[in-house]
C-alpha cells in the first residue's frame, strides 16, 4: 500500500467520523440535506462502479432504486430493516443480471436505449400489478426510523461501496475492466470475457443502488409507483457523477455535494426551471468539463508536479 493510499484512508476515516457526528449537531433542514447528499454519493459512486470503466451511460438507476423501495415496503412486515435492505440489494442485483444479460452482449447504444425507458417500464408494470391483482395502488411503510438513522445506514452503505470499488480496482476484474475501457478489441484478444465482466459489474452496481432505495423507503411513508420510479433521478445521478468525474473512485463526491445543494435551492425556489438546469448541466459537462472536476484536479496536480520536476532539474 503506497503512502498516498494510507494518507487517503486516514483522511476517509476522519471524514466518516465527522459525518457520523452530524446527526447529533443538526436536525431538520440540514439533516435532510445531508441525507440527500449521502444518498446521491451512494448512488453516484455505485453508478460509477459500472459506468466509469465501461463508458456506458446507464439510466437504470431509478429502476433499481424503485425496486429497493418496494423490497422494503413489502419486506418490512416480515423482516427486520437491515435484512429488508439486503433483500432489496439482492432483488436489484437479479434485475441487473437479467437486463445485463439481454443488452450488454450487444453494442453500447442498445444498452443506453434499453435503460432509458426502464424506470417507466417498471412503473407501468408495478401499477398494473397493484391495481389489477392487489387492488390498491400504494403501500404504507411505517417504521420508527428517523432521518438520522437513515443517514447512518447510508453512511455504512457508502463505506461498503467504496471498499468494494477499491477491491475491484485491485482485482483481476478491475484490471480487465481497464483493458476493456481502453480498447475492447484488445481485451477480447487477451481472452477477457468482455460481456461477462460487464454484467458482473452491472450486477454489483445495481445491487448497491437498490440497497440505497431500500434504505430510503421509510422516508416515503406511503410508496406508490409514480414516486418510487422517478426517472429524473437517473439523470441526476449521471450528471453528478460526470460532473465530478468518473476516472477516480472519489470523483463523483466532488460533483454530488455542490450539485445537490444547487438542485435543492432551485427546486425550492424555481421548480419550473429544474429541467432547464438539468439540460444546461449536461451541455456544460459535454462541452467544458469532459473529465469532470476530478479530471481538472488531476490535471492541475500533474502540471504542478511537472513544473516542480522541471524546477528541480534547472
Amino acid at each position: 500500500m503506497s503512502r498516498f493510499e494510507i494518507n487517503l484512508m486516514l483522511l476517509a476515516g476522519i471524514a466518516i467520523t465527522c459525518c457520523a457526528a452530524l446527526p447529533f449537531m443538526t436536525e431538520g433542514f440540514y439533516l435532510t440535506l445531508a441525507v440527500n447528499i449521502a444518498l446521491y454519493i451512494a448512488l453516484c459512486t455505485a453508478w460509477t462502479l459500472f459506468s466509469g470503466p465501461t463508458h456506458l451511460v446507464s439510466l437504470a438507476t431509478a429502476a433499481f432504486f424503485g425496486i429497493g423501495i418496494y423490497a422494503t415496503a413489502i419486506g418490512i412486515e416480515y423482516l427486520p430493516f437491515p435484512l429488508a435492505i439486503l433483500c432489496g440489494g439482492l432483488a436489484g442485483a437479479l434485475f441487473a443480471a437479467a437486463v445485463g444479460a439481454m443488452t450488454l452482449r450487444l453494442s453500447g447504444v442498445y444498452f443506453v436505449i434499453f435503460t432509458l425507458g426502464l424506470a417507466e417500464l417498471a412503473r407501468q408494470i408495478v401499477t398494473y400489478l397493484q391495481t389489477k391483482i392487489f387492488g390498491s395502488i400504494g403501500l404504507f411503510v411505517l417504521t420508527d426510523h428517523t432521518e438520522g438513522d437513515l443517514f447512518y445506514y447510508l453512511l455504512a452503505l457508502i463505506v461498503a461501496i467504496f471498499v468494494t470499488g477499491w477491491l475491484i480496482g485491485r482485482s483481476r476484474l478491475g484490471f480487465a475492466m481497464r483493458v476493456i475501457g481502453n480498447d475492447e478489441l484488445v481485451a477480447k484478444h487477451f481472452g477477457i470475457e468482455v460481456a461477462r465482466s460487464k454484467i458482473i459489474l452491472f450486477v454489483i452496481s445495481g445491487g448497491f443502488i437498490a440497497m440505497a432505495g431500500a434504505i430510503m423507503a421509510p422516508r416515503y411513508a406511503y410508496v406508490e409507483p409514480a414516486s418510487a420510479f422517478n426517472a429524473t433521478m437517473s439523470f441526476m445521478v449521471v450528471i453528478m457523477a460526470l460532473l465530478g468525474g468518473t476516472r477516480r473512485l472519489w470523483g463523483p463526491l466532488v460533483g454530488v455535494v455542490p450539485f445537490t445543494i444547487v438542485t435543492d435551492f432551485i427546486s425550492a425556489n424555481f421548480p419550473e426551471h429544474i429541467n432547464i438546469m438539468i439540460g444546461l448541466a449536461f451541455l456544460l459537462i459535454v462541452y467544458l468539463l469532459k473529465d469532470g472536476v476530478s479530471g481538472l484536479i488531476d490535471k492541475a496536480m500533474r502540471t504542478r508536479r511537472g513544473t516542480r520536476l522541471q524546477g528541480a532539474k534547472s
Partner: protein
Amino acid sequence: MTILVTGILLGGTYALIALGLTLQYGVARIMNLSNGETLVAACFSAWLLFTTTGINPLWGLLIIAPLGFVANGAIYLGLLRPLVRRATSQGMLEVDSILATFGLLFLFEGLMHLGFGGAYFNYQFLAVPFKFLGGSYALNRITAFGAAAAIALALYLFLYKTRMGTAVRAVAVDPEAARLVAIDVGLIAAFAFGLGGAITACGGVLLSTFYTFNASMGAVFTMKALIIVIMGGVGDVRGAVIAALILGVMETLVASLIDPGLTLAATYGLFVLILLFRPQGLFGGAAG
C-alpha cells in the same frame, strides 16, 4: 379488425418520426435523443397556427417542415459538429452525442414547459367519423396516415432516385469511402440531420391532428422511435416503416385488450424480442 386498422393508422405517424431519427443516426451518426422534442415543438406549432390563424395543419406542414429542417441543421452545425471533430473514435462520439442530446432534451422540454405549462392540448380538425371496412374511424387519423404515406414515399423516391439521395445513402454506408468519390461528407451529414428533423416535424404535425399532446411527452416518443429504428435496422427506410406499423398494431392491441397503461411494456416486450433474436434489425444482414 378495428384494432388492426387503428394500429396501422397510428403506425403511419410513428413511421415518419422514426424515419427522421434513422436519417439522423444512420447518416449523421448522431444518436439524437432530443428528437422527440422536435416532434413536440411541431405539435405546438401546428396547434398555434391552427388556433390563432386557422391554418389547416396540412398546409402548416409547408411552414413547419422547413423550420424543422433549419432548426435541426443549425443544431448539428452549431453544437454537434464540434463533437464529431473532436471525437477520436466512434464510441467516444456516441457517448458525447448521447450526453449532449440529453442536454438538449431537457433544455427544450424545460423551455416548452415554461411556455405552455404541463397541461394537455388538442384541437378539433376533421374530427368526423369515416366508415371504412365495416368500422368507423376518425377522418383525421385517416388523413394523417395518407399524408404520412405520401411523405414517406417522397423520401423514398428522393433517397433512391436522385443523385443527392444516393450521396446520402453512400455516407450512411461508409463515410470514408464516400469521401473518396468526392462527396462532401460534412455537408451531407448536416443535410441529413436537418432532413431528419424536418421529417420528424411532419410526424409531429400529423400526430397533433388526432392526439392529445403535452410539453413533456417528447422522451416517450424518442424511446418509441429508437425502438422502431433498431427493429427496422439502422438507416433502413423500409425496415423502419414496417417496424413502425408492427409497433402501432401491437400498442393498439395491448391498449384495447389488456390495459392502456401497459403500452410501454408492450413496446419493451417487442424490444426485448428483437434484442434477443434479431439485434441487427428485421431485415438486416449478418453484420450487427
